[in-house]
Symmetry: C2
Subunit: 352 residues, 2 copies
Amino acid sequence: MIDNPYYRHEFHGDYELISIGRLELEEGGVIPDCQLAVATFGTLNAEKDNAILVTTWYSGTHQIFRDVYIGPERALNPEKYFIVVVNQIGNGLSTSPHNASGANVSIAMSKFPHVRIGDDVVAQERLLREHFGIEQLELVVGGSMGAQQTYEWMVRYPARLKRAAPIAGTAQNTPHDFLYTKALVEAITSDPGFNGGEYSSNADVVDGLKRHAGIWAVMGFSTEFWKQEVWQALGFDTKEAFMEGFLEPYFTAMDPNDLLCMAWKWQHGDVTRHTGGDLAAALGRNTAVTRVMPINEDMFFPVRDCEAEQKLTPRSELRVIDDVLGHLALFGVAPTYIGQVDKYLNELLADS
Amino acid sequence: MIDNPYYRHEFHGDYELISIGRLELEEGGVIPDCQLAVATFGTLNAEKDNAILVTTWYSGTHQIFRDVYIGPERALNPEKYFIVVVNQIGNGLSTSPHNASGANVSIAMSKFPHVRIGDDVVAQERLLREHFGIEQLELVVGGSMGAQQTYEWMVRYPARLKRAAPIAGTAQNTPHDFLYTKALVEAITSDPGFNGGEYSSNADVVDGLKRHAGIWAVMGFSTEFWKQEVWQALGFDTKEAFMEGFLEPYFTAMDPNDLLCMAWKWQHGDVTRHTGGDLAAALGRNTAVTRVMPINEDMFFPVRDCEAEQKLTPRSELRVIDDVLGHLALFGVAPTYIGQVDKYLNELLADS
């Protein structure tokens, strides 16, 4: 176990660690005591039918949803809904390589087992049912890897959700995306300080984490983000200052094994595991009213990939978010971003 | 000096090494004896007005032009034109870090000075004039870094070329492109075997070169190339086999310092050095009839970047090449690729 300050409450604000017990994983491993970091907003009504599940993306936590996506003026309105943000396994707040200790000491660091998107969704379903008594969701929504989890809900538990909104992500990871993630992984594991996953601090792997940030710079934002110098709006004078002041610190603060756990999960996201490789059959299970919401400038979840899946998904419609930031528009930096998300989610929440 | 078999005549076929003497470089360094590897096709006529200059791209040599772009049935027809392909400085055939010896021993390996696109163009102009007596070019054409050189010709020596065709490249490198190249560079230099550029064989840097190939896989081809499994047309059964059988061997055979020399040059390509940073003024110098030819699926020289420059270029028209391979369509693998290039170049060569 490593005490990494990035993952402390001081940095991430209030959340609750809830154990769902032993979790047997699809790949054969086990998390002896799976703890999910959960942040809730609003109040569950007596009928327990006003719940919204929010899933998290690669490197993300509940924090960005609290700060950007959730509020009384937002579609994700805690005055109306009980919003449950569940941090994904391996994200550093829920059970993860770097924090595995106590009952989980056998899976610490490099010994952490492979986790799949399906494992997260099984864990979330158990959490919602056993801990909150929630069996029906008004909406499941998430971006990027959060979209992967949303699609997994649509295919695995179609009767359990009324609506779904996968943002900037796919149901079946694409080969290009696999290669992109591979480059991210290799940037980290090639650092001699990584030491096969048995480093003593994330600072040992700072060079690899910086290269990982450098590859994110190429794919995470759009070519126009850089050309139009949109980073100026974030208060930086040069692209180098933006890298050194924003993207590098963002990733170098994180735990390498945690990122690798999520990267493997991202690479292997695939709802067709339920249907013998048949994507149309998998997506055909969906019964939720759905909005598929890609971002027009996304370099690695391009609109056409998302649209191809949308066309296979019953009860779905496509809503394209316009944002020059590209994939990392998800951060909600552009003033026009969250308005689009709210518009499409409000429309969805009014639909049934 | 390293004897790397990839750069031998056995592999690259016939070319001539021609010394243009001492070359003072824009960045302040010097190549004491600058030798250019030159392959020619066809015959220079008595008037010396049927010459075409072909410039090379990152990692490329004259070989691909000989094998794909030049032929009696092609626009680059050696029965009509005298075609001079000049390998760029640092590409491993012309004077380069790995082959610097004799008079160039002082700039071997890590001591090789920074070379700019302008240095190549100055060297090419001197070669053409002093060695071949060519003062007027029917056409300058090149792809990617070859397009950078083409633009440099258009801006630096506007009276010397009648026509120009920059393919899949820009006059002023974009910030996104700079970051992409930075990721490529770091993949190589982070390999402990790189040893600050003083390795004894490219094999010492094989891990870094493989990571470099892995990043090319993400950006060099399009997302659709991978999704549609276009690599099957190249005889591979899986994307992994394609990587291991094609893209990795392609790059691991090359010299790391040579690639880094070209990468620095690519990153810093900028015709506005002639006009105090004014792109419109620089491109406004052009007098050649020009076709700007981006590739529609290019991930890092996207059409809109090329089109923005085309609009600033007098006497130019845009011709977009349709090819799912993306940037590496330049290899000419798709059967429909070279036909488009020929069509647009024939149209250009008939124009005046």
